[in-house]
Structure formats: structure tokens, C-alpha cells
């Protein structure tokens, strides 16, 4: 049985659950993005951040990553972002 966890699978933005919104601002090599509707942080290191949402998550890989937590459940990630991928939890439920 597959444990309930986040599986790496590329998904389109239209598949992201409502309330899961990303605003990004790129300045040269560095970028910052704000994720609304975050439920928690699964991983946080200077190279990777995984933000959990209600039915999925978003993985940000890069360098010198820092996190900002805002009142109301928004999470900001800034630093040199190399890759952003959306993670789907539905396969964990056997779908």
C-alpha cells in the first residue's frame, strides 16, 4: 500500500485546487513568490522548500531560499529559484 504522501507529478495550474494561488516576482537571478492557501511546510532548507496545500503541494528548488510566513496562511519564498513543481496528493489516496 502506498503511504499517503506527496508524489512528484507535473500538473497544470488549472488543476490546482481553488485557493491555491501563486504570485511571482522575478528580479534578475532572484525571484520571490507568494503562495496563498498554504497549510504547512513539509521541508525547509536553503536548497528546497515544499509547501503543503489542502490537496497537494508545491516544491521549490534553488539556492539561498528563505521563507516568509504571513498572517492568513500565505507563504512567501524568495531566493535563486531554479525549479517549481506542483505535487499531487491524489495518487496517495489510490486514485
Amino acid at each position: 500500500m502506498i503511504k499517503k504522501s506527496l508524489f512528484r507529478r507535473e500538473v497544470g495550474l488549472e488543476e490546482i485546487i481553488p485557493g491555491f494561488r501563486i504570485e511571482a516576482d522575478f528580479r534578475g537571478k532572484s525571484a520571490s513568490l507568494v503562495i496563498s492557501g498554504a497549510k504547512g511546510i513539509k521541508e525547509f532548507s536553503s536548497n528546497a522548500v515544499i509547501v503543503k496545500a489542502k490537496r497537494g503541494g508545491i516544491s521549490i528548488e534553488g539556492d539561498a531560499l528563505s521563507i516568509s510566513v504571513f498572517e492568513g496562511g500565505s507563504v512567501g519564498v524568495s531566493g535563486e529559484i531554479d525549479r517549481i513543481s506542483f505535487l499531487d496528493a491524489r495518487r496517495g489516496r489510490g486514485r
Binding site: K39, F44, S45, S66, V69, G73, V75, G76
Partner: protein, 385 residues
């Protein structure tokens, strides 16, 4: 870093490496905001530290000592000088904004900055004047009424600096109002050497002898050349004889100044003067007082309303010197050289003859020079209908 954190004081919270993600999740769940750097450190206002400690109590973290201004004051709480100094600085900043820091002048072509500053000072407006002392429009009107050469002036306040913009009166346009026509006449009796006409009709030629006021270039065009009136323009040169002489007495009494002695040093702040040093005691009658004022300038361009004023007293004595004949000649030659440079440097010298003679009480050296000098003088006239 937020300004309110500095002002009200803040603490730095460092999250443990193991639980970093869980700590951030805990803050998110509690609705507490934080900007966490990649090494897991974030700043919290000191009055909110309790909430964060409570949210993170299950995890590994450390809290720093209080930082910011409260920490500074706590550290130096017994150093009263710092606190008094800061308070004085605030008082100074508050009061200094009420005064003119600098006067910057724009748009002047023939009027010098110094002359205009003097005009403004006569109207009661200078560096150090209180902004509220006088209405700027009153000063503008005052300057315009007194000056013949300023056509328009505007004073604008930009921070502590007064920007003075002006337009000078155009003498040519004024003459144009009177018709704009002119003749060129001789300024003195002479023999014409060279005449160049750019506009108008030449009335004399090279070699003619003219008297002062005689017409040289006419602005009236004769009927056979089309008629009409113009503003005459051209150069008329004549050979003029000039004499320059110096006399060196055999026994000369000249003043001699001693080493300047510092009497007073003061710091100028706007219109106020703060004495830093003063030597008391009466200054001897035979002393000369030398005042030296030095204004501070930023980037070699912007004058600021601070400066140093120094007063020196220099003892003056007279020395009597007796020259030999050879010394009289050499002193006279040196003085005449300076005199000639002063008088003839702007002219073309055609011929120069220097003669010297010993007189009963000294030596006289004289230069007779013939110089090429412009003698044309423009005279405006109004056309009679």
C-alpha cells in the same frame, strides 16, 4: 529589517536545523508572521516574543538578547552626554529647518552671484534669515524696485535652500523699444587708424582726424542706398598716446606688518556666532585688524550656513629706507613694469619709449606708449516721424 523593530526593540529567534520546517508550519498555523532567512533566523518585535515562544515551545529554538534602540539606551543608560547630545541634535534639526541654509542663483548672465546676494541681503534675505521673517514676494518686489538691471525675479523655497531665478533686463531690447537705431561716435579726439563696418555707413576713413562726439558710423541709410535706419555696428580703432610713470624717492617710508596674532576664532552657524577662542586685552593703536571668514562648502559647490571667522591683529610699523642710485633705478623699473601690465595689457601696443631721470629727491621713470584702442561709442537715437 523593519524600522519599528529598531525603534521598539527586537529579538532574533534561531530555529533548530532538525525542526525548521515544523517550526514554520507552527507559526503558519498560529497566524504569526515571520521572515525566516535560509539559516533559520528571524526577527520579532520584543513585545511579541511571548507569542512566538509559545508557538514554538515544542521545538528546538533560541532567543537572542533585546536589540535595537532600547538595547542601545539600556547599554548607555548612565552616559548622560549621549542622551543630551541626541536631544540637542533633535532640537537643532527642528530649529535649523526654520532658516535659509543656502541661496542658489540661476539665470544671471552679467550680474554676478555676489552682487545679487548683496542685493538680497539689502532686502533682508540672506543665509541664516528665518523663513517666516519676511514674505518671499515682498523680497522679490523690493529687489525689483531697487535694481535697474533685473527684469524679473522669483524666490522659491526648496527644503532649506532658496532658489533665486532671475531674468536680466536686455539693454538692446530696451533700445529697440525706442526704435532700435544707433550711430557710433568718437569717444575722444584722435586720428583714425582702422575702421571696420558691419552695419551702417562709414562716415570717416583711416587717417582722418576726428573730435570727441564726431559721427564715425551712421545708422541712417541714405536714400540712394535704399534709405532707412539701422543699429550701427563696427569697430573703429585709433592710435592713442598714453603715459605711465613711477617715481621712487631717495628716502622712502613704507609700512611694515608684523606676524599676525590670532585674537578671536568663532564658529558661524546661520546668523549666530559661537566664540571658540578669544584673546582678551586691548589691541594696540598701531595694529591692523584682519578679519578672515571662511564658509564651508559641500562637494566644492554647495555653500552651507556654517563657517569659521578668524580675527587677527598685525602690528604695523613704518620703516625708512634709503636707496642708492642703482637701487632706485631697479625699484622704479620693477614698479613701472607692473604699472604697464595693468594699463596696457588689453591694448595692442604699437610703440613704446621709456625714459628715466634723476630728480632732486629721487628717480622718475616714464613710459610713453602708442596703443591701438577702440574709440567707437554707440549712441541710440529715436526716429522722428
Amino acid at each position: 529589517m523593519r524600522v519599528d523593530h529598531y525603534v521598539l526593540g527586537y529579538r532574533k529567534i534561531t530555529l533548530g536545523d532538525e525542526d525548521r520546517a515544523a517550526c514554520v508550519s507552527a507559526l503558519l498555523k498560529r497566524g504569526l508572521s515571520a521572515k525566516i532567512s535560509n539559516n533559520g533566523v528571524f526577527a520579532v518585535a520584543s513585545y511579541r516574543t511571548k507569542k512566538y515562544k509559545s508557538a514554538l515551545k515544542r521545538y528546538d529554538f533560541s532567543v537572542s538578547e533585546i536589540k535595537g534602540l532600547p538595547a542601545f539606551f539600556l547599554k548607555y543608560r548612565y552616559r548622560y552626554g549621549i542622551i543630551v547630545g541626541i536631544m540637542l541634535a533633535f532640537v537643532y534639526i527642528f530649529f535649523s529647518s526654520s532658516f535659509v541654509w543656502d541661496v542658489r542663483i540661476e539665470g544671471n548672465e552679467t550680474i554676478s552671484d555676489a552682487a545679487l546676494r548683496e542685493e538680497l541681503a539689502m532686502s533682508g534675505f540672506d543665509v541664516g534669515t528665518a523663513w517666516r521673517e519676511k514674505e518671499l514676494s515682498e523680497i522679490e518686489t523690493d529687489v525689483l524696485q531697487r535694481s535697474d538691471s533685473i527684469g524679473w525675479i522669483s524666490i522659491v523655497r526648496r527644503g532649506g535652500v532658496a532658489i533665486v531665478t532671475l531674468r536680466e533686463k536686455n539693454t538692446f531690447s530696451e533700445s529697440e523699444e525706442n526704435g532700435g537705431f544707433s550711430n557710433i561716435v568718437a569717444s575722444r579726439d584722435c586720428v583714425i587708424e582702422k575702421i571696420t563696418v558691419r552695419r551702417g555707413i562709414a562716415m570717416v576713413k583711416a587717417g582722418d582726424t576726428v573730435k570727441a562726439g564726431e559721427l564715425l558710423i551712421s545708422g541712417v541709410i541714405p536714400e540712394e542706398l535704399g534709405g532707412g535706419f539701422v543699429r550701427a555696428d563696427g569697430d573703429v580703432y585709433a592710435l592713442i598716446h598714453e603715459t605711465s610713470e613711477v617715481t621712487v624717492p631717495k628716502i622712502e617710508r613704507s609700512p611694515k606688518y608684523g606676524e599676525p596674532e590670532k585674537r578671536e576664532v568663532s564658529l558661524k552657524i546661520f546668523n549666530f556666532s559661537l566664540k571658540l577662542f578669544k584673546k582678551y586685552g586691548k589691541v594696540a593703536n598701531d595694529c591692523v585688524i584682519i578679519e578672515d571668514e571662511e564658509d564651508f562648502v559641500l562637494f566644492g559647490k554647495y555653500r552651507i550656513p556654517f563657517g569659521i571667522r578668524r580675527v587677527y591683529a598685525s602690528k604695523r610699523s613704518f620703516q625708512t629706507r634709503e636707496y642708492t642710485e642703482g637701487q632706485m633705478v631697479s625699484v622704479a623699473a620693477a614698479r613701472l613694469k607692473n604699472e604697464r601690465a595693468r594699463r596696457f595689457s588689453s591694448y595692442d601696443v604699437v610703440r613704446m619709449q621709456t625714459v628715466g631721470e634723476f630728480t632732486a629727491d629721487g628717480y622718475k621713470l616714464m613710459t610713453n606708449a602708442t596703443v591701438l584702442k577702440s574709440i567707437g561709442e554707440e549712441r541710440y537715437f529715436v526716429r522722428q516721424e
